[in-house]
């Protein structure tokens, strides 16, 4: 039977030859990811249900990456990290990246692939909705709640319903000013914030082939903003090079069968795409950046699992180089490795860090989720009052970055950088 990549991965994980959309199946988990805000609750569910002396099903497959509330004086946030430390020690977990030590990484969805934990064909559950990011490397990856995660922790299994697949065929020559972010914002604008509810979103076509791995991650990262169960891209040579540079573990590449049954096809020619924003307060509020030039801004934010990777900062730096920013410009590298890259990546002999410094951006923050989700009151970059912000993050819900009264525009690193220079929403082509 012909199947999609998502169905094939799930069938293998369920020990079946094939699966059909709508079928409820128990699947085996390859990786369970958790972090500091959902980890402690997950651990308590696990202990409540399996006993205080219970052991996780596989200490090499439970990966804990604290990232949300790291640089805060909030006592409960610190208590939560301490409870993770205690659990890791007691269970002998192999992969834990401890804040305040050299093993600390930063935002889990950038750290997980960076450290070689994402492999094609595998099943990844994470206690975070943006776990769908990892489909960019050909894995099935989706977000779950604490109770389901507590169940996985004890059994390595989870009952899931096989999602139908929506296929996005993205072809044509990709203009230099169109990024992964512009592609996904355009798609969400077209199908709406529930347009892919409980569907697999499979992205393919010559435009996807042209994108580097981090840009593909940006696209899959935001599948959840259309309600998608998972985002997924078939592995190609770029994927395999990326993975082989990071892990020695073996894996099996899975691809969609040519005649696989698709619930719906969406065809796009990306050469017609333009730099865009998602206006407040939904990621589906699409508008071309050039039509929003009358929107004055108070701040610009470059960071998060969506827009705080090294290639995001390279894009922003190319625009900002030689200019001054007019508004507060926050830079939050997703991981320590991205932070290192800011010092070592050069454009015309200048490091990204010095380009941003000369442009008058605020001092580069320490890697974490920071203001992407608001967070405790002392969080770096947290919005206040009626501040209007343009951001490379993924959600512009009311209050998402802190203040309920602060409207958020989502955009690519190119558009955010151009807008920071002008102090109003600006199409990056002005600086290209």
């Amino acid at each position: 039977m012909s199947q999609t990549i998502t169905e094939k991965i799930l069938a293998r994980a369920a020990g079946q030859n094939s699966v059909k959309p709508g079928e409820n199946i128990w699947v085996n988990t390859d990786i369970l990811l958790t972090h500091d805000i959902c980890g402690p609750g997950t651990i308590e569910v696990f202990k409540r249900e399996f006993g205080i002396n219970a052991k996780v099903w596989d200490p090499e497959k439970v990966i804990i990456i604290p990232d949300h509330y790291i640089y805060t004086k909030d006592e409960k946030a610190q208590r939560n990290i301490n409870s993770l430390r205690k659990f890791v020690k007691e269970q002998g977990l192999k992969y834990y990246y401890d804040p305040g030590t050299p093993t600390y990484k930063g935002v889990c969805h950038v750290a997980l692939p960076q450290e070689g934990h994402v492999r094609p064909g595998e099943v990844i559950f994470g206690t975070d909705s943006h776990t769908c990011t990892h489909g960019a490397l050909g894995a099935f990856a989706t977000g779950i709640g604490n109770t389901d995660a507590g169940f996985v922790m004890g059994t390595g299994k989870l009952l899931i319903k096989v999602p139908p697949t929506l296929r996005f065929n993205l072809n044509g020559k990709l203009p230099a000013y169109v990024t992964g972010k512009d592609i996904i914002l355009r798609i969400i604008g077209d199908i709406g914030v529930d347009g892919a509810n409980y569907c697999a979103m499979e992205f393919r076509g010559t435009a996807i082939e042209q994108l580097n791995i981090e840009e593909r991650m940006t696209i899959c990262n935001m599948a959840i903003e259309a309600g998608g169960k998972n985002g997924i891209i078939e592995p190609d040579d770029k994927t395999l090079d990326y993975i082989r540079a990071r892990t020695k573990k073996s894996f099996e590449v899975v691809k969609s069968d040519p005649n696989a049954k698709i619930s719906k096809d969406f065809n796009y020619d990306v050469s017609s795409f333009v730099p865009c924003v998602a206006q407040p307060h939904l990621p589906s509020n699409y508008a071309p950046a050039k039509d929003k030039g009358n929107v004055k801004l108070d701040s610009a934010y470059i960071g998060s699992c969506t827009g705080g990777k090294i290639t995001d900062f390279i894009m922003a730096a190319k625009i900002i180089k030689g200019h001054k920013v007019r508004i507060n410009t926050y830079l939050v590298p997703a991981t320590e490795k991205v932070a290192e890259g800011l010092a070592t990546e050069m454009i015309d002999g200048k490091s990204l860090a010095s380009i941003f410094e000369e442009a008058g951006c605020l001092e580069i923050a320490q890697p974490s989720c920071a203001a992407c989700l608001g967070g405790p009151i002392d969080t770096f970059g947290r919005t206040s009052g009626k501040e209007i912000v343009i951001s490379t993050t993924n959600r512009n819900f009311v209050g998402r970055m802190g203040s309920k009264d602060a409207p958020i525009y989502l955009a690519s690193p190119l558009t955010v950088a151009a807008s920071a220079i002008e102090g109003k929403i600006t199409d990056p082509r002005k600086f290209m």
């Binding site: 977000g143 779950i144 009952l159 914030v193 529930d194 405790p376 009311v398 309920k404």
Partner: protein
């Protein structure tokens, strides 16, 4: 949650389409751990505190729970984050069922997996069928919501494949009942 809780009587609170998890429980309260009883109550006291100020207060000043027992909402309820805190906060505030036109899947799944509240779907939007505070009765077995004063009855969709999971009290109860994992000692 079992058949004995299949009838819910109380006041209704009305919400729009696309009520996201940041509105339900703003991220600044995610330092609270839902399994700690004291913090469970606190989460409840912050339920829906992210709503813009033009909404009626869900929880009155100096109260920790809500006077409402059921939420009637539009499409895509609970979109956004996978935070189970969203389901927990509503349940801790006293919400026993949500009746929405549709759900974001993770919220729906968390409601089912935890057994904390019934995620019911209406056949069409019921946002204009009731006023804020209307006394209603939800019968989760029969799949109805009734305006008690007028005795007007509206059909709800059956829970379908997740019905047995909800009836077993969540994913753990279901897995134990079906022999997937061993009984709790």
């Amino acid at each position: 949650m079992g058949n004995d809780n299949s009838i819910i009587i109380g006041k209704v609170y009305i919400l729009d389409d696309n009520i996201d998890t940041d509105l339900i429980i703003p991220a600044e309260y995610l330092n609270l751990v839902p399994t700690i009883p004291d913090e469970y109550r606190k989460l409840g006291s912050y339920a829906l505190s992210g709503l813009p100020n033009n909404y009626a207060r869900f929880i009155k000043d100096w109260q920790v729970t809500s006077e409402y027992s059921v939420i009637v909402a539009g499409k895509n309820f609970g979109c956004g984050s996978s935070r189970e805190h969203a389901v927990t906060a509503l349940a801790a505030a006293g919400i026993k069922a949500v009746v929405a036109e549709s759900y974001a899947r993770i919220f729906f799944r968390n409601a089912v997996a935890t057994g904390e509240l019934y995620p019911m779907e209406s056949e069409k939007t019921l946002r204009n069928a009731f006023k804020l505070g209307t006394q209603i009765e939800v019968n989760t077995n029969k799949g109805t919501i009734t305006d008690i004063a007028s005795q007007k009855v509206f059909k709800l969709k059956p829970l379908g494949a997740v019905g047995p999971v909800v009836a077993a009290g969540g994913i753990f109860g279901y897995a134990r009942a079906t022999g997937m994992i061993s009984k709790k000692k």
